[in-house]
Symmetry: C2
Subunit: 238 residues, 2 copies
DNA sequence: CGGACGCTTGATAGCCTTCAAACATAGTGG
DNA sequence: CCACTATGTTTGAAGGCTATCAAGCGTCCG
């Protein structure tokens, strides 16, 4: 049961009981991916719809020479992709920690959204949210310095996790290597390491054993110039 | 008549005559913006739907300290925004050259897409295309160097303009200042100037008087590591 | 003609990368 | 149980790409 996905849609729209049941039926299979596993490879043929049930994953695109850039993170409730412009997916998805994914038929899913106004609107809002986050990532790597980028990444992650009830008390699971942070912030591993040490020394935030602890949210958000507006979370979630 | 918009949707789906007529009616007002004008300001309240009829505009987000980052360009047929998560838009839009925009009621527009499957599917594909382009921009500023970024920007622009019949013979209108290129590539004006001079010296591409001339497409695309797959244009458009 | 704007150039500085290597931890196989 | 390997983290030194600062030039326009 893709509860997390239904919950995400319901953060945008009210679903009918029928719609909830349909969604439950549409995602039957599930599969667990270990840390570092490829959930989706770039240019894979589309296999069906998928939604993250638990864990954290990263969506990435890469260059021919092996360089990689994460373009967003997937949290519980997020779709692996929205569809459907070509036969092949345009981004890869990599599991950070252990990640559980529910799968369903793409056609069945498209039919569901064509027949249920609530699902269609929920999907529409979900993709708009993804688009807004994607643009913020462009701003992040384009116009913030290394410290701000990393701090912003952490602020975003904590805010999004809080919104789905997966983080509180300024702590959350962050099973992500410094190399992955580098590929998210457009930096090198070495530099990420140095910046993280500075953030730890300044007692703003620390990442240890896959757990991130924010010691001074106000100072961290300030350094990151973090404004959660772009996440378009409902008031209650902030 | 938002012909360009209908054409864009029809590059993805077949619209019925009824749908075309409805779209024509939905965008009645039109307005022209001079070079540099703000078509939409960040955090503006949403005013209605808008679609670019002619010209080029840039979608941007900015930081408190005045830094700005363009997150994508709007060409004829592109919507100013897709909707609808909060009362305020999350990106500004600035006219580069003289830009004509058609406007319509947002509610009427949403109703149209709720009632017409073709329009809904076309919109869905349009937003997926925007999302893919947005992710490519993140990759661009995150993992390419200055020369590659600028070259990639130009390759993208030429490819997209060609697809809508607004460019050919390796020339196109590019009424964009070096400062705007800097804000698109995450660089400074000074550095953009130097890189453009190098590209001109190497006889790859030149931008003069608002017109961009690509002298050596193969070499330019090679330096940019440009692969148009992410644009999801139909075969015929490439 | 003065001012705004955009383009250009030079000098200097610095953020971040690159290169190289050491260290820690966990998993594997003998 | 212990080499042995792989992966991730950490540290140091050096270099380069890009930013910053400053100024000059050209053009357009009121």
């Amino acid at each position: 049961m893709p509860i997390s996905f239904i919950r995400r849609l319901e953060s945008f729209v009210q679903l009918s009981e029928h719609e909830r049941r349909s969604l439950n039926r549409a995602f039957e299979g599930r599969r667990t991916y270990g840390p570092g596993a490829d959930i989706l490879r770039e240019h894979d043929e589309r296999l069906g719809m998928g939604v993250v049930l638990s864990g954290v994953a990263g969506r990435y695109r890469s260059l021919g020479d092996g360089q990689r850039q994460f373009v967003g993170y997937l949290l519980p409730g997020d779709l692996l992709y929205f569809g459907a412009l070509s036969e092949r997916v345009d981004c890869g998805v990599k599991a950070f920690g252990s990640t559980v994914v529910a799968r369903g038929s793409a056609q069945e899913f498209m039919a569901l959204s064509a027949q249920n106004a609530g699902i269609a609107l929920g999907l529409w809002k979900a993709i708009i949210q993804d688009l807004s986050i994607s643009r913020e990532w462009t701003l992040n790597v384009g116009r913030r310095n290394a410290e701000q980028r990393i701090a912003h990444l952490i602020c975003e992650q904590y805010t999004r996790l809080s919104a789905i009830g997966a983080a509180e008390n300024n702590r959350f699971v962050m099973p992500i290597t410094q190399r992955d942070i580098a590929d998210s912030a457009g930096l090198t591993t070495v530099h990420v390491n140095r910046v993280l040490q500075r953030l730890k020394r300044d007692e703003l935030v620390r990442i240890e054993n896959g757990v991130c602890t924010i010691q001074d949210w106000a100072a961290l958000a300030d350094r990151a110039k973090f404004d959660p507006f772009y996440l378009h979370l409902s008031r209650s979630a902030l």
